[in-house]
């Protein structure tokens, strides 16, 4: 066992004994995410390094503190990638942080989310024990799928110390097409494209411009380009645009003014009062500035079958919506069993946890 893992385990045991809450921290690039952060920082960043990578297995295993940039550079050197395109926000973001945050990038609608690529994970329990779930293989149904439960858990079940991820080959060719459309027409076009067997890997609408990214075998991309028409965006500009969206560096996403992240079914009608300023994921992810009345924004998102999160809000505001009572009861029981002393990221995912 590495020294740094032992340090983490010792810190957890001490916190469990004293009841002092811990704030789990990797690269410290996502402090804005979730509800308030309380507790003594438990640094995971030092527990870093690639444990196993064999490109022909399509699996990589890394310690949680491994910088995402380092991992992705290694994959790229072998023509592979993390298909869920986790946002880095800033340099220093870690693999463990990406899994705990559970955020996916522009490829979400076509390739899947973080949990679709997590094959296994190790955590330190509230009792200071190292626990491994899942594994390093593609198919594994032994026991409950705890490693995927950790995706988006924001650390409330315990610090993730190692993860195994499925990786995919980088597409041979990418092309981005552009259209002048208003938001409803763009979402309708994205939905139509998604119904066809086309290699659409990302969509966006912003300021009257809809963009569709195609990724895959050259033959498939070329024939899709013919089917979809539109104007081709110069490849450098296109790459910069998708990178900016992915890493939340687009001006709209980066500005620290009130911003709502509304996630609904892709085909949900756009509401006139909340014309989004940016749409991704074929219409399922809508970023909005409007909506002084937060309760109404949340209620409308719920009515559409989704949820609104106040991504950047005034100090002290809640980010996430309330959980339904039956789900919250299960959350509380899970929290109590993983973390009996309630030391891990108290309240960060939900005030009740």
């Amino acid at each position: 066992m590495g020294d740094d893992l032992q340090r983490i385990i010792d810190a957890v045991r001490e916190a469990a004994a004293t009841g002092v809450p811990l704030a789990i921290r990797g690269g410290g690039t996502k402090d804005f995410l979730g509800e308030r952060i309380i507790g003594t920082p438990l640094e995971i960043g030092g527990h870093a390094g690639i444990v196993d990578y064999d490109p022909s297995e399509l699996v990589v295993t890394a310690r949680a503190g491994t910088p995402l940039a380092e991992l992705e550079a290694l994959l790229a050197s072998r023509g592979q990638m993390l298909a869920f395109e986790p946002p880095h926000f800033a340099p220093g973001g870690t693999v463990g942080g990406a899994v705990a945050a559970g955020l996916a990038g522009p490829r979400r609608a076509s390739a899947g989310g973080v949990r679709d690529f997590v094959l296994g994970a190790s955590i330190v329990s509230g009792g200071g024990e190292l626990l491994r779930f899942g594994g390093r293989v593609m198919k594994n149904v032994a026991g409950y799928d705890v490693s995927r439960l950790l995706c988006g858990s924001l650390g409330v079940l315990g610090p993730i110390v190692e993860v195994s991820l499925k990786v995919l080959p980088k597409p041979a060719l990418e092309r981005t097409l552009e259209y002048e459309l208003d938001a409803p027409a763009a979402v309708a076009a994205f939905n139509r494209a998604a119904r066809q067997p086309l290699p659409v890997s990302a969509t966006s609408w912003c300021a009257g411009r809809a963009r569709i990214r195609l990724s895959g075998a050259p033959a498939a991309v070329e024939s899709a380009r013919h089917v979809l028409g539109g104007r081709e965006v110069e490849s450098g500009d296109a790459a910069a645009w998708w990178e900016a969206l992915r890493h939340h560096r687009a001006p709209l996403l980066a500005a620290r003014t009130p911003l709502w992240r509304v996630v609904v079914p892709a085909t949900a009608p756009l509401l006139p009062l909340e014309t989004p300023e940016l749409v991704e994921w074929a219409g399922a992810l809508r970023w909005c500035r409007a909506g002084e009345d937060g309760a109404a924004v949340r209620a409308r998102a719920r009515a559409a079958g989704g949820a609104a999160a106040l991504w950047h809000g005034p100090a002290g505001s809640r980010m996430f919506d309330d959980l339904p009572a039956a789900a919250l009861a299960i959350h509380r029981r899970l929290k109590a069993s993983f973390d009996p002393a309630a030391i891990f990221n108290r309240g960060r995912l939900d005030p009740g946890l």
């Binding site: 593609m138 149904v141 409950y144 066809q196 996630v263 959350h331």
Partner: protein, 487 residues
């Protein structure tokens, strides 16, 4: 708690179901005494066959009141005894909840009841140019609810994913009668993502009444290439080289000589019976894309040492080439009175080593074993052939299987890739997970099902069970895990 009298329980169940929806006579219970793993069988107290959600809720409430175990069941095609009845429990068959509630072609989703058959869903979606991707070999009979319970796979998982990747939401009831809605149209939401823990939970956390699945556009064309190899090692190398070349085929399957010989007379697929291993590689997409990919695959397999390559010329030939692979299990039943299907997964690079080890074990246990596997994702299905009527053969087959699974764990893999733990692999769970990890599984179960009535006794072995398993393995003198803690 003193168990309620049997008659009281049955009277209460009768009160919440129509007359034809409760089976209690021994002859009626017999078809429900096992699932697809017929070596494990026992009869339940009763079988409930509700037709509506309200009836499901009423049966659950009744079982909760009397503290009676509930074993949910779909088509009963599972291969690990997951739907094996509890002797004092009720089998809750969801087979009559078989309506497709909605197909939303614009969103590419379908909302279905759990008893809808896997293939029926793809057939219903076909007029929209859509299909449901996971295709376990039992797809003609197995239900979507059962697929969710087991996180079923199929031959196209490498590219299109497991049930987990194709189910976007479920609605169901906890044993307390609380309705739980997890996931559905929106890609994410607040709180923990409970959906992946319910998928593959083998009916132990939630009784499902509705499943929302993702439907995919049917690719315009699919073709399959069949490559023959003079030895298994070269076939395994070819698999690694296809993946390393950046190709993710729609299907990547392997069969050994024994499996090909078993299925050929049955299916007439045209398999090369002189080959030590046959590789099936499917490519799908636009015609140009398929042509290009098949050409690349052909070059790779030839360079890896394939002695012959045949590519399907039309859809009929493609289906024929797959028919042997998809019918491997029934074919095993034709060449042997009984067979025991295993389901371990290992890192792909160890495939050749694993097959050598299985051949050595077959000699040691005195039983034949044929092999089919999802080579693309390292998921093996050794089929151990035995005769249940020959004294000692079933215990030998069971021990053979357990040894294969122990080697899977040793090679960095898992004891089940897609068939589930059920009752069958309780012993092997002791090899893969520490007592603390098994404790987490128990806690997850208790978080959803505090009463502990949903499919109790499956998946998570007790400490006692693991101690027994440990003793049994030591007794045989075969303890590849001498370093592991034993109880």
């Amino acid at each position: 708690m003193i168990p309620a009298p049997r008659d009281d329980i049955l009277a209460a169940l009768r009160a919440c179901l129509p007359g034809d929806a409760l089976l209690t006579e021994q002859a009626e219970l017999a078809p429900y005494e096992c699932d697809g793993l017929s070596a494990l069988a026992r009869r339940p107290l009763a079988v409930a066959l509700p037709k509506t959600e309200a009836e499901v809720v009423a049966v659950l409430a009744c079982c909760r009141r009397f503290d009676v175990p509930v074993v949910a069941r779909g088509a009963g095609t599972g291969l690990s005894g997951g739907a094996l009845p509890h002797p004092e429990g009720v089998v809750l068959s969801l087979a009559r909840l078989n309506r497709i509630l909605a197909i939303d072609a614009a969103a590419g989703t379908a909302r279905v009841e759990p008893g809808v058959r896997n293939l029926a869903l793809s057939e219903a979606a076909a007029p929209h140019g859509l299909y449901y991707a996971p295709d376990p070999s039992s797809q003609i009979a197995c239900t979507i609810g059962g697929n969710v319970a087991e996180n079923s796979g199929g031959v196209h998982c490498l590219k299109y994913g497991l049930t987990l990747h194709n189910v976007v939401g479920v609605r169901g009831y906890t044993s307390d009668g609380d309705e739980l809605v997890l996931g559905a149209g929106a890609p994410d939401g607040p709180g923990l993502d409970l959906l992946p823990i319910v998928i593959g939970s083998e009916g132990m956390l939630l009784v499902l009444v509705e499943v929302t699945v993702r439907l995919l556009p049917r690719p315009p064309l699919a073709r399959v290439a069949m490559a023959s190899f003079p030895d298994v090692g070269r076939a395994c190398d070819a698999v690694a080289q296809i993946i390393a070349a950046g190709i993710v085929p729609a299907g990547l399957e392997m069969m050994d000589r024994g499996a090909a010989a078993a299925v050929e007379p049955f299916c007439g697929a045209g398999y090369d019976l002189d080959a030590a291993a046959i590789l099936l590689v499917e490519s799908d997409g636009t015609p140009a894309e398929v042509e290009d990919e098949i050409a690349r695959v052909g070059a790779i397999v030839r360079a890896a040492g394939a002695s012959a390559v045949r590519v399907s010329r039309d859809e009929a030939e493609r289906i024929r080439l797959w028919s042997g692979r998809k019918n491997a299990f029934p074919a095993a039943g034709r060449i042997s009175p009984d067979y025991y299907c295993m389901d371990g997964t290992i890192p792909r690079k160890h495939l050749a080593r694993m097959l050598d080890a299985i051949a050595a074990m077959a000699g040691r246990y005195g039983l034949r074993c044929i092999n089919v596997f999802h080579a693309g994702d390292g998921n093996l299905h050794p089929l151990i052939l035995f005769d249940a009527n020959a004294p000692g053969e079933w215990p030998r087959a069971e021990a053979f299987g357990a040894e294969i699974l122990e080697l899977c764990v040793e090679l960095g893999g898992t004891i089940t890739g897609e068939h589930g733990v059920g009752e069958e692999k309780l012993g092997s769970m002791c090899v893969q997970f520490s007592p603390a990890e098994r404790g987490v599984f128990l806690a997850v179960k208790a978080a959803f099902d505090p009463a502990g009535i949903l499919n109790p006794g499956k998946v998570i072995p007790t400490l006692h069970r693991c101690a027994e398993y440990g003793r049994m393995r030591v007794h045989r003198g075969a303890t590849p895990f001498a370093h592991l803690e034993r109880f």
